[in-house]
């Protein structure tokens, strides 16, 4: 039985149709054989869908500054769990453990993100009553 490409696309599309939790397959985007540990300073955070990206500048041993982008969680759930724009101000020093993008760009996932003192970036607290209310 021959399968047309459109049918193939359909069946491949099914791969993520089960109730998985992340929007996409990170293993397709990042290379598990390219682990990175980045210590840098936050320059900005993009609150964008489907996943937020944190931009950091990393100063290498020779003094060269390299800008990295780190993929995080989805903005809607970040906000619900108490993460706001104030949680990660520009200038904050962070350490990121993850894996570099397969395409070789300075992009990584951020499985572990900590402050300089080793504390995790954000301590989850899923209490909707603590949500910042709209307009405040």
């Amino acid at each position: 039985m021959r399968i047309r490409f459109s049918q193939l696309a359909l069946l491949v599309a099914l791969a993520a149709a089960v109730p998985v939790r992340a929007h996409h397959a990170f293993a397709t985007e990042f290379d598990i054989n390219k682990p990175v540990k980045l210590a840098g300073r936050v320059t900005s955070m993009e609150w964008i869908n489907p996943h937020a990206w944190i931009h950091i500048d990393v100063t290498e041993p020779d003094g060269k500054v390299v800008s990295w982008m780190v993929e995080g969680g989805s903005p809607n759930v970040l906000l619900r769990r108490g993460f706001t724009k104030k949680s990660l101000e520009p200038g904050t020093e962070v350490v990121v453990e993850g894996f570099q993008a397969k395409n070789g760009l300075m992009r990584a996932n951020g499985a572990n993100i900590t402050f300089k003192d080793g504390k995790r970036l954000f301590l989850g607290g899923s209490n909707p009553e603590e949500l910042p209310q709209a307009g405040k």
Partner: protein
């Protein structure tokens, strides 16, 4: 005196029962007399309840005390993971643990390849054994012979392609197109909000996931012509008592659940029944005789979650993933070619 005792036997005995009776709730109506289901209803608390039931449970709709204790323990472990102040053995992934971020493909040297796993919504331990409630064993029925043959052919064809030869190799959810009717309402790690709005002759259902909106006529309007096909189908509703019944047809062939695409004959029947001020029971029957040997039904409660707002989920806004996946696959192609 004898009457006094009798009276006391009747009233005093009943008193504790009366005292425990919850405040009566009656289904509110809209100004034009339809049952009022309006509000924001979430499936958050059902995260973690499996879609299909463990085979050992057979026809038991609720888990054993032992399994419930396991679910409670899992929630405690999640809480500990989510709130750990420092990165440590507890928060590092384990490829042998299984589950999200804990497989050999997604975990290396204690670091997961996913997003931070504590940045997602968490459910509550449930006694409900599975989201599938019919057939009585809580399992999705077998595929038809025709669907099995198609599945085998798809698997064979898939082996001839890379993970991201084209954007079409990636799912329609990854491509920010849709999660379909079922995927948009089933509990997920985020975007579990659903909003019901009503006006005379029309019910509107908004799903936070991919911010889908279905306008559902409840005024007897017939379905669209059979050749009009969409991902979210064509929905028509009617009231059965206080239950909103929504029949949806005219689907494009698309994945429904568990990697199985539907046939053009897919028909979903959803039932929304408000049980009290804070609960709408959601029930959906999946009927596609070309795909499954018999219809099957999912049911779970949608709840009023205090403080929950529906936020926009403009999925394609920053979907850098797609360019990363495609360009990453090309780099890998070059490496393979160079060998």
């Amino acid at each position: 005196m004898r009457h006094g005792w009798l009276l006391c036997a009747a009233v005093c005995g009943a008193w504790p029962l009366l005292a425990q009776t919850p405040k009566a709730w009656t289904q509110p109506k809209t100004a034009w007399g339809d049952p009022d289901l309006q509000g924001i209803w979430t499936s958050t608390e059902m995260i973690g309840t499996p879609l299909q039931r463990a085979e050992t449970l057979q026809d038991k709709t609720e888990v054993t005390d032992e399994e419930f204790a396991r679910r409670e323990a899992r929630q405690k472990a999640e809480e500990a993971f989510d709130t750990a102040e420092f990165v440590g053995p507890q928060t590092r992934c384990d490829p042998n643990r299984g589950g999200l971020g804990n497989t050999p493909d997604t975990c290396k040297d204690g670091v997961s390849i996913g997003p931070p796993l504590y940045w997602q919504d968490r459910g509550k331990p449930q006694r409900q054994a599975s989201l599938v409630v019919d057939p009585p064993d809580g399992r999705i029925p077998p595929l038809t012979a025709e669907a099995q043959k198609a599945a085998a052919a798809r698997a064979q064809a898939r082996r001839t392609r890379g993970a991201a030869d084209s954007y079409q190799d990636r799912s329609i959810w990854e491509r920010c197109i849709t999660r379909g009717v079922l995927g948009s309402i089933l509990p997920s790690g985020y975007n579990n909000g659903n909003q019901i709005l009503q006006e005379p002759g029309m019910v509107v259902l908004r799903n936070e996931m991919i911010h889908e909106t279905r306008f559902i006529p409840v005024n007897g309007r017939p379905h669209m012509a059979a050749n009009v096909r969409t991902y979210m189908g064509d929905s028509r509703g009617h009231w059965e008592g206080n239950t909103l019944v929504v029949e949806t047809t005219n689907f494009l062939e698309q994945p429904v659940v568990n990697n199985v695409p539907s046939s053009p004959d897919l028909r979903l029947v959803e039932r929304f029944t408000r049980k009290d001020a804070d609960t709408v029971e959601y029930r959906v029957t999946v009927d596609d005789p070309k795909t499954w040997t018999k219809p099957w039904t999912i049911s779970f409660p949608l709840r009023h979650e205090k403080g929950y707002h529906l936020f926009e989920y403009a999925c394609h806004e920053g979907n850098y993933y797609m360019t990363d996946a495609l360009s990453g696959a090309r780099v890998e192609d070059q490496k393979k070619g160079a060998k």
